[in-house]
């Protein structure tokens, strides 16, 4: 069954697997770095106190002022509208329609990247937050009082976002595939999904309040916000400021369900990578069983993928649980539950590294399409040329296979180092005794090595 379509709908080019020698070097560097980290560990936490300082100049203040907020919000709403319109009215060809590349590449992959570099840039552009705030302001003006909301159940925490994250990826890479034909998610389906999500989000915002829902339940705010914790820039009390990179991350996971968000992120990226190689045999075997059981091809394929995404989530959660359990056996350890939440943020760099490793080339190539023909001809009808770039294409020679390989391995190794740094720092804060802290970190080290080497392994067998 070699015709099984697991290819990305958009990618006209797929990455070659990283060669065996590079896999070996990558894994070796990971091991050396890890053992070295054990011997140079610092004894006092360095990232726990988040010292945020505002950027003083007036120019920076204009960036976060009300006119800028209105401007960014309007852009966000406009672009969401363009994507939905293009999805509904544009061509069925996934690669020629503005909607798919914009939603699944430009936003879904672009915001994590820019969140790490520049802070939570999604927040001002979030179209649903803009609509919610506008509605709230309108209500206040008409009724003469601020809208009242239901109390958000605190125990629910970020769980709605974690579930939404899995649902989004499921829509992208499971629902999108259809038996026998290498066509991914149809632009129309993406547009309808965006409309359904808009209705759901606005309802939730009306019930619980716009900002409250953005903090807990709005999938994209929570997901992109998670990555922004790694970066140096943040807005607090309406002012843009700077902090030590990574310093915000330790506070992030204190909300329930945060561990689920980061685990879901790692697991779904793993599934996408593994379905190109590591799991291919198992996927085909399961798929054939379902076809034998007289399920339709599409249903069999979706069911197979759904089961394996579930297995990935369980697997990632189990590896993390083993690490957390191991730490809890070290003398002076806090309770298991506190450790589970307390170390969740140390997986954010791993999640980011997985994203970079798996989607870097797709992002670079597809963004060329985004800013040339998709911008000039968003519907893909071949009849419009808004900016004169409708006939430009993607230059696939921009990145050589070597460049992609080194970037992928480099991202995983750096993500590994940052994850170890955060874990060590948290351990020094939790264990008063430095020796016990170091001992607890053998366990987290094993967890990180497992994730990083698994990531390298996925790259080495993908499309091989």
């Amino acid at each position: 069954m070699s015709w099984l379509p697991f290819a990305h709908a958009l990618a006209a080019r797929q990455d070659l697997p990283i060669p065996a020698w590079l896999f070996a070097w990558g894994a070796s560097i990971v091991l050396i770095v890890s053992f070295f980290a054990l011997s140079v560990g610092w004894r006092e936490p360095r990232f726990e106190g988040d010292r945020w300082r505002p950027l003083g100049a007036a120019g920076w203040r204009a960036l976060t002022g009300l006119p800028a907020q209105i401007f960014c919000g309007a852009i966000g709403v406009f672009l969401l509208g363009v994507a939905v319109y293009a999805g509904l009215r544009g061509t069925e060809a996934p690669d020629r329609n503005f909607a798919l590349t914009f939603l699944f590449v430009t936003c879904w992959l672009g915001f994590p990247l820019f969140s790490v570099l520049l802070g939570d840039v999604f927040r001002p552009f979030n179209p649903w937050r803009a609509i919610g705030r506008l509605a709230g302001a309108g209500f206040a003006a008409l009724a003469g009082q601020r809208p009242t909301h239901l109390r958000y159940p605190e125990r629910l925490g970020r769980w709605p976002a974690a579930i939404g994250l899995v649902a989004f990826v499921w829509l992208e890479i499971v629902y999108g595939v259809s038996g026998g034909v290498s066509v991914g998610l149809a632009p129309q389906s993406a547009a309808v999904a965006a409309l359904v999500y808009t209705a759901y989000t606005l309802t939730m915002m009306a019930l619980f309040g716009t900002e409250r829902w953005c903090r807990n339940g709005e999938v994209f705010s929570v997901y992109f916000g998670m990555f922004s914790q790694l970066g140096a820039f943040a807005v607090e009390d309406g002012r843009l400021g700077r902090r030590r990179p990574l310093a915000a991350a330790p506070r992030w996971a204190s909300v329930p369900g945060s561990a689920a968000v980061v685990i879901a992120s790692i697991a779904t990226t793993s599934f996408d990578g593994a379905s190109e190689g590591a799991f291919l045999g198992a996927l085909e075997w399961t798929f054939e069983r379902f076809v034998d059981a007289e399920l339709g091809l599409t249903a069999a394929l979706r069911l197979t993928d759904t089961i394996f995404i579930g297995l990935c989530i369980a697997g990632v959660a189990l590896v993390y649980l083993i690490g957390v359990w191991g730490m809890s056996t070290v003398e002076g350890a806090p309770p298991l539950r506190k450790l589970w939440t307390g170390f969740a943020h140390t997986l954010i760099p791993i999640a980011f590294a997985y994203l970079l490793a798996h989607y870097f080339s797709l992002f670079v190539f597809q963004e060329q399409a985004q800013f040339t023909y998709l911008l000039s001809d968003p519907l893909g009808t071949g009849t419009t040329d808004l900016f004169g770039t409708a006939s430009s294409g993607i230059d696939f020679q921009l990145l050589s296979a070597d460049a992609i390989w080194y970037f992928q391995v480099g991202a995983l190794v750096i993500g590994h180092v940052v994850a170890l740094t955060l874990a060590h720092d948290r351990a020094t804060a939790y264990w008063g005794d430095y020796r016990q802290a170091a001992r607890s970190q053998y366990w987290m080290l094993a967890v990180m090595v497992a994730f990083t080497c698994f990531g390298l392994y996925l790259l080495s067998v993908a499309n091989s």
Binding site: A12, Q14, L16, P19, W21, A24, F396, N463
Partner: protein
């Protein structure tokens, strides 16, 4: 390094990495071997792994499409960057043969045949499709 345990740990890491790299290079040898086998059997053309540039090997692969499906499944075409890619498609259905990435396409009539010949300039993996049916008939791999 004052602690003997730390020194032991670092030595252990070095030993582990040497083992890993050794495994990696042995894996590399097998790849080279299989590549040579592929060359001698003449299944697919690819230039060697060595530094000296060989003359681009030219072997035409013929892909046959029957009832809108590739005979014998999706064909794998493997080349090294710089080689001349040559393949032909004979089809019993009228369609458009499209090579993604390189973005080359030619119409084929029912019972007709088209051939492609171009330098392998872009590294990566690309699909060859019957564009109207959306059926993949071959996969082009260009290694660096």
């Amino acid at each position: 390094m004052k602690n003997p345990i730390k020194i032991a740990v670092v030595l252990l890491a070095l030993a582990a990495s040497i083992v890993l790299v050794a495994c990696g290079s042995s894996g590399d040898e097998t790849t080279t071997e299989s590549a040579t086998t592929a060359q001698t059997t003449g299944k697919e053309a690819r230039s060697g792994y060595g530094k000296q540039k060989q003359a681009p090997a030219v072997t035409t692969t013929a892909i046959v499409v029957r009832d809108g499906e590739p005979v014998g499944g999706v064909r794998e075409l493997e080349y090294s960057a710089g080689d001349e890619v040559e393949f032909s498609v004979r089809s019993d259905v009228a369609d458009e043969i499209h090579l993604h990435g390189y973005d080359l396409s030619k119409d084929v009539a029912a019972g007709g045949s088209v051939s492609f010949s171009f330098p392998a300039e872009i590294e990566g993996i690309f699909e060859v499709e019957l564009e109207q049916r959306g059926t993949q008939i071959a996969e082009l791999r260009v290694n660096p």
